[in-house]
């Protein structure tokens, strides 16, 4: 019988592996895009919604940085194990599992952010935002590295 945790993990994995979700995560604009007057006007964002997005952004980036730091630490530990004269295979595998767990946390945190933004905006406005971001990325081109700058 499959455990509840395994089920949840598999569902999350399936959602994250879905091309549409991956696309949305890739295309979501960076930073506090809701402070850009044009975007805020196009999406008709209220002051309360902006404040909710601000809170969400701070919380999400704080968590992402925490998990990323943890992941960096685990990567360093793996590097250390792999560089030993006598390779401890079991320790290396165990360390890689830890890295994978951190990686999953990272993905989940990003997805949670996407989910919360979607909840705040609602379907129509979220689609509008994704299209705006796609349009911007299209205009900018894949080789340009400018940020999603406000006018």
């Amino acid at each position: 019988m499959m455990g509840k945790k395994t089920m949840i993990f598999l569902v999350c994995l399936a959602v994250l592996a879905c091309p549409a979700v991956a696309d949305a995560m890739r295309n979501s604009p960076p930073g506090r895009w809701w402070h850009m007057p044009d975007v805020a006007a196009a999406l008709e964002l209220s002051q309360a919604e902006k404040e909710a997005l601000d809170t969400l952004y701070v919380q999400n980036r704080r968590n992402l940085i925490d998990v990323k730091n943890e992941l960096d630490k685990e990567r360093f530990e793996l590097e250390n194990i792999l560089e030993q004269q006598n390779l401890n295979e079991q320790a290396a595998i165990e360390q890689f599992r830890k890295i994978e767990r951190q990686r999953e946390k990272l993905s989940m945190e990003r997805f949670r952010y996407l989910l919360e933004v979607r909840k705040i905006l609602g379907r129509e406005r979220h689609l509008k935002l994704v299209n705006m971001a796609k349009e911007f990325h299209g205009k900018r081109g894949p080789e340009q590295n400018d940020s999603f700058e406000p006018r």
Binding site: M36, R75, R103, F148, P150, R151
Partner: protein
Amino acid sequence: MSHDKRPQCDIGQVIRSIVDENDLSPEHLRHIEECPVCSEERRILAGRLGLLGRRAAEYSPLPARRIVLPQEDHPLLLRPGSGWRLAFGTAAGFAAVVLAAAWIMFRAGFVTPVSHLDVAGEMARDEALMAEISMLEENPLPEAYRDISPEIISETDEDIFDFIVPVSSLDRWSRGKEA
């Protein structure tokens, strides 16, 4: 001065004795008390003044609010320690007013919390952070092992293929096959 006026009698002295006894010298005071003319003048004047005072009180409208002056026995309006409370209350009230004004201004949009430059700068930093996170999500191996991991090699990388099988070797192989 009506009758039997003596040379020392002076109506000015009599009036001064009514207004303020301390304003007169002891000799003059003694004269007013002993002299029947001056003492009578004083009594009449004092009576008229009293009557005037009563009439004024009768014809004056009563004040809307009764004014009570503090008694001399209790000159302090504030009890000990109430000064601190009053100062603290004033300061707290002032701080509340300032905070309320700042909040109202902030809500009304008078204060811009972030400028466009701040937003742009933050976006650039955030994009860099998210790019790093995406990279870690795709391949979390340490730097040194990332380049030789199967995930990267699985992508079509012409340089890697050229390194493994140089073009010159391929030419020789094809020529040998033809022969």
